[in-house]
Subunit: 238 residues, 2 copies
Amino acid sequence: MNTISDVFSFNLARCGFLTTEDRISLDEAANKNVSNVRARSDLMCEGDRAQTVKVVLDGWVAAYKQLSDGHRQILALLLPGDMCAANAFVVERMDYSLGTLTPVRYAEIRREDFEELFENNSRILRAFWWKEMVTASIQREWTANVGQRLATARIAHLFCETHARLDCRNLARGNAIDFPLTQSDIGEATGLTAVHVNRCMQSLRAEKLVELRNRELILPNPERLRKIAMFDPAYLHA
Amino acid sequence: MNTISDVFSFNLARCGFLTTEDRISLDEAANKNVSNVRARSDLMCEGDRAQTVKVVLDGWVAAYKQLSDGHRQILALLLPGDMCAANAFVVERMDYSLGTLTPVRYAEIRREDFEELFENNSRILRAFWWKEMVTASIQREWTANVGQRLATARIAHLFCETHARLDCRNLARGNAIDFPLTQSDIGEATGLTAVHVNRCMQSLRAEKLVELRNRELILPNPERLRKIAMFDPAYLHA
DNA sequence: ACGCTACCATAACTTAAATCAGTTACAGGC
DNA sequence: GCCTGTAACTGATTTAAGTTATGGTAGCGT
């Protein structure tokens, strides 16, 4: 179904108004200029002038910000099908960085090709607008997550959300998903220290709510985890 | 310059590619169906199916989320010229609520009128896309703010950002701005308790970095405040 | 003039999470 | 086999922020 070559359009088509032709032209654009990078490298950094829009085809990317006091916050996880740095296409410069969490296969769409995509096709333009709204929605939830939930609920919420996001792309295996973040990555995504993440993970594990081994995450009791996480998937608009 | 009747287009025109005609049709749409509401009332609630897009013409609105454990997080401040609930136009339902902080004058743009605005005009559609990207950018900064900064820096950052956002709409008076949030609102916006906000405010006041009286905020030493706040305005794309 | 409410201020005390300073386990390279 | 690096884990201690509770004050209606 969702082969590696159509994750991009598959993901965008969730807005509901793209035609088959739209999808074909999107996937063509996303298969022209494909590169591979190793894990733990930066695709781009804050302040860079981005010339191309990047589409994650395989692997995980983290958007993050480094504060001047050294603290790092992971702002978002970009999963296969997600687009990044469309920002810099419309806006001057990157205001955050992109780092890979795994080896990543990604496409670069040049400005001109991007323009061509929605020249005379307002559906595609509207799909990008829609996608940006969903992105903002998720970001709002992250703000609330880090602002209001206690440590364990925060981590549980990250797990629930990531599972849901992968699931609607057919990238979940039942209650299991790939989950390449280390405990210190989880800390940076939730505004906690690695030490505290470790302790919370132990309690979640003891409660038989999560198993995380070899970069695979299993949620044996999603119902109860969602309750602890106060997870309501409405904001994902999936 | 920026009269009450053109805040909407003035704000959107910051993307740089709107024509005078575009601006006129935007302001026409935003002056058709104008209402007033008193302070501390909800424009709409999580779960509502929004039929109209709302444009703040005067006053302040807060976007917020209520968690199932009762905790409330203010997610964003909507200032004159800002648009809200465009979400629900593209997406099914509101995933957050909108509450007024002051008496508010706002316009409602109906679905049809909204459609008409970018029927045959991709510039306006792209302006909305651009605006949504800026919104997402600000939301990312809020995530980092709440996730990584210490209490005093968080509050300082909120002040710096709000001043900058008002300033670029010509709504600042030098170092002074309107600031209708109570200390407990500030707490909800920064993920802190009102008590702790009070302590931080006292230290900021003692350091002669902020004065807040009668809903007016004065930043006597913006340079030093920005440093404490680790505020870099790049993400505002102003 | 009275009480009511909203907001700001404060003190005493508790708690969640950070910090510091490690240990253990394991995988890859030589 | 050993070295190296990364990730997971632990315990002692400190600190930032939360909680509870209460006092003060300004504005408002009656």
